[in-house]
Subunit: 129 residues, 2 copies
DNA sequence: CCGTATCCGATTTGATACTG
DNA sequence: CAGTATCAAATCGGATACGG
């Protein structure tokens, strides 16, 4: 490491150039995103739906640890944020399919950057002291 | 977007190729990372420290919304995860400087990918309905 | 099959006051 | 300056039971 600090690419360097006014941080988009998708299940659902659309009970089985309550809440949140589409087929019995919107699919890529980092540093991270 | 679904680059595609066994998801590194850094303040602190090292009260002022309690807790967590270094100068009055470790600095980059996404879609996201 | 309703414990955060 | 202690509030999450 030669330079004092890593040069930060992209918007971070652009948006946070100096001692930070702080008030602007409250509205920081990164924080916003994490506050919305950073809960216990949202990202998992996004990733699973990234493979293919799933019906409600498919999701319930695929994620397994999740309760109906949280699955519904999570899906409603993702729906409200425009990341997930809910499609109802008026059949008997009823069938509801969930899929990613284009916006939701676009989130998969930055997510993978974080996934790469997580995998690469899984050893150093994770173990507290 | 021509294909049925976005082709997911990197580890996401590699680690989650099929209907998902789900048990393996519990140990998903991405989830791990989010569970640790996905709290209310951690990422903000990492980003602020990415600009330059800060002392305790500098951080307190820079982030502004944060309470002393949460600032300390957040710093201790980041320290335990090897993302932040704490350096005490035995002066009068005492001075404690916090800075990113190499690991912490490396996290800045995937974070910026997410930041780019957040900025790019700030309009579509954020507004619920 | 696809949810909703209710209850309750666990975790997280904030406000405030105090200390070496 | 750099924290800790304590209390209360809000939020999150799981279990269970019920309804369209």
């Amino acid at each position: 490491m030669s330079a004092a600090h890593t040069d930060v690419p992209s918007v971070l360097a652009h948006e946070l150039p100096r001692p930070v006014p702080a008030a602007e941080f409250a509205a920081c988009p990164v924080t916003e995103v994490f506050r919305r998708v950073g809960d216990k299940w949202s990202m998992l659902v996004v990733i699973v739906l990234g493979q293919r659309p799933h019906r409600y009970n498919e999701l319930h089985r695929a994620i397994e640890g999740i309760s109906q309550r949280m699955l519904t809440r999570t899906l409603r949140g993702l729906e409200a944020d425009g990341l997930v589409d809910r499609t109802v087929a008026a059949t008997v019995p009823p069938s509801v399919s969930y899929s990613l919107t284009p916006l939701g699919r676009s989130l998969l890529e930055p997510l993978s950057a974080l996934a790469d980092w997580a995998v690469a540093h899984a050893g150093a991270f994770g173990r507290r002291a």
